[in-house]
Symmetry: C2
Subunit: 328 residues, 2 copies
């Protein structure tokens, strides 16, 4: 029996989106128990008649706001996010999921849970859709602004273990850079390039320019958190803007919409972040998952699935073991 | 009479694309003379009967390849790009245009032409389309990887002068960062923020995240060349990929295409880099323009127009004067 705590507050949608996903997932999977953290008055009515649901509620009405500083987050010890992380810290659950503020989540989990090894940096890993529909995993997209070459290498190794363990394939791994040539970028680029090139356990593609990302040029992309955040937000922004043009035009021209519904569906579906598995705070010595701040039940559901699959595959154990092969 | 040299080789299309644009522009504008640099055997037949065209040809068959290193570029002293830059250096022309290798162009112009002031860095400024169709100017998108806060400030000031002089409006100026909050980013971000905030001659918006760029959140965006290059390539890549999905789907569903031609047209037109004015190497003490490596006659034409307008507005003189107000 795996135990999952879900932070049901502190994001853009209502508590019920998180709870609905838990109910739906629990109906199909009997090996899980849940701790629902949030306002009991809102959670209780949704779950009380669901006999197949193995749960308990940790009640609080306080939450960390999206604009709260990290310092404020530390002080709100009765917030739903803080209480959720404490459950993991105290071994009351095996993994946690939150849709709340990313910066608060990364800082709090880092401090309360701790890293796998002191030499690594914690990276925020996000799933990004591609036109091939395969998508790719991208990290660090915002936990740490700067990395040494060695630290990026460790990050890539951990992510590589994540993908081989949970999804059972060897990812084509790239390092983000302004050009594909070996001499491009900063000094740390050369360091991580050489380490990955000489590592026979990874399928290293070399440097990857942002131009080919949405085409699916790699399965796993490693970057410092500053560049990663810029690139992720650029891709999201561009795709959202085009989606809006499409929708606007089809309103003006409904006859076109009638015959082109399939195209809109294709594009919105391909780049639907809600259909995807959320994000992982990688490098902590426990499993910590994150979904979008605008998550709905669909996205919570896929994040619960990712949590479940990670637990079934002993992810943290495997990453810890992997780390011990190159760190000491 | 303004004199413009056009490097007709070293890019992905044929010499004739550059020459056709020159012919078309010259037909409408009598105050220009052109120096066409490239293979005379290809250029001569295209221009010899055009009586309205004021031109001469500088013959060479050598060119700098897109994959040539900067060192190779320096050595190819008879390449069309090198000869074009020398014309400007020797005051034989007032401005130059090339579609060749960006890195070679930036390095060669920097070394042969020189900077406006020793304290500034040269920035590569590119025009980026937006859904509002207004677009924005973005620099540095690849000339220098790293900047001090002061250097970014000077870059912003020069670009501000460029826009107010040539396009006659006060641009809303932003600085690229991972968040809009004042404390985000690196130390240099804080420096450039404070300088711009206290400068009453600019319309400073603060930090701009990449998410809102395609929506047209600013008219002028300043960044270090590493981040700028990543963001520009991310936007281009995402938009091109979506364009391809659209085209592919309409092939499968021609009835949809029939009724939706307008939508495809809108999107491809909005993000048609060829319809735009190319790029400027800003900070040199002469006017140096660049078009895309895949430029066709349409894009050469708009770059010639930008060159012409910059000359008519005494751009370099104005930037030099502006620089003297904050540099010494």
């Amino acid at each position: 029996m795996f135990r999952i705590a879900v932070d049901c507050m502190g994001f853009e949608n209502s508590v019920s989106e998180a709870v609905k996903a838990v109910i739906k997932y629990a109906k199909k999977h009997k090996d899980l128990s849940f701790v629902l953290v949030g306002d009991e008055n809102q959670i209780r009515p949704l779950v009380e008649n669901k006999k197949y649901l193995n749960y308990r509620i940790v009640h609080t009405t306080n939450e960390i706001g999206m604009s709260d500083s990290v310092l404020t987050a530390y002080r709100k010890k009765d917030s739903s996010m803080y209480l959720t992380i404490e459950l993991l810290k105290n071994n009351e659950v095996d993994t946690i999921i939150s849709a709340g503020s990313s910066s608060a989540y990364v800082a709090l989990t880092y401090n309360l849970i701790g890293k796998i090894h002191h030499k690594i940096k914690v990276g925020f890993m996000s799933y990004v859709p591609t036109v091939t529909k395969r998508g790719f995993w991208f990290l660090d997209v915002g936990a740490n602004k700067e990395y040494l070459g060695e630290e990026l290498y460790y990050l890539g190794k951990m992510a590589n273990t994540f993908i081989t363990s949970v999804f059972n394939y060897q990812p084509r791994l790239g390092v983000l850079n302004i050009g594909a040539e070996k001499n491009k970028g900063f000094e740390y680029h050369q360091v991580v390039y050489n380490l990955l090139e000489n590592d026979k356990t990874v399928d290293f593609l070399g440097f990857i320019e942002p131009r080919g990302l949405i085409k699916g040029e790699c399965d796993l992309l490693v970057s410092d958190g500053y560049s990663g955040n810029l690139v992720l937000k650029s891709l999201e922004g561009a795709l959202k803007s085009v989606g809006k043009i499409l929708k606007k035009n089809y309103k003006i021209n409904p006859l076109g919409a009638l015959f082109s519904a399939n195209v809109i569906y294709q594009i919105t579906k391909t780049f639907d972040y809600k259909n995807n598995a959320g994000a992982v705070v990688l490098g902590l010595n426990k499993l910590v998952l994150k979904t979008h701040g605008s998550a709905d039940a669909k996205q919570f559901y896929s994040t619960i699935r990712l949590a479940h699959e990670s637990l079934l595959n002993n992810l943290i154990e495997k990453i810890t073991k992997e780390c011990s092969t190159f760190l000491n």
